[in-house]
Amino acid sequence: MSSIERSPWLIHYDASSCNGCDIEVLACLTPVYDAERFGCIVTGDPKQADIFLVTGSVNHLNAPIVKNIYDQMPEPKAVVAIGACAYSGGVFAECYNVSGGVASTIPVDVYVPGCAAKPESILDGVVRAAQILKEKEKAMRATRKAERKGRKAEGAQR
């Protein structure tokens, strides 16, 4: 049973995006695409978020902010990089104030293609991120169980 897969909470941050992907992320939450069918809710609080949606490329001003949001999110967490800019910098890759894709700052789990990414693609990305969350949670449980077992064995030996 994985409640995290059924109800992942999202947080969205616009690193230097052109707005196109941002409004498509918003469009995902409105009736026609309705990401809330998958149990998603957009939250403004990184402490409550499971999936981090990043649009746009990273520059030296917003890289600490992206990193900060990521660090505040509780484990397990997944990062979805939306659009060509978040992947490689897109058409802005050669601009002086763009340092590249999101992967240069935080580990990315899923890429969503497109410029601007279509809402359907974003939904795909979110659904995939929810699956990754479930796998990560499983792995976390397994390690925790192993640790507990180890501790128990240690105690028995003593």
Partner: protein
Amino acid sequence: MTEQHNGSIIPIEIGALLPETDALRSAGWRLVQVLCVGSADGAELSYSFGLDLEMRSLRVTVPAETPLPSVTAIYPGAFLYENEIRDLFGVRIERIAGDWEGKVYDVAMGKLFSKVSIKAISSEDPGAATGGAASMGGAL
């Protein structure tokens, strides 16, 4: 149509900038934009003004390191343009009302748009000019 879009461009001296701007303001013109084009030995600023659909620009050529008076005393809305130009071109604009002390964009490199530094940037980055797999190398 082109004429209407471009308006007239009037070259003036640095000293004439404030009196000319003041005269336009009294005649009911409003500031449309301030434009800067950098060159190796300074910059060229165009102050565009609009009255209804007409546009008129005053053009000032500023040698490097020459101070330029701010027009914010006449048009308070100009502070954004002037801060931006000072950050990106390194033009010394003095006494801006609403001075951000060079923190508009907070870009890593200074004076980006002056021609000297563009050459420096593009020579640092030879991959960009040849095109091809610049992004592929980064992302793959």
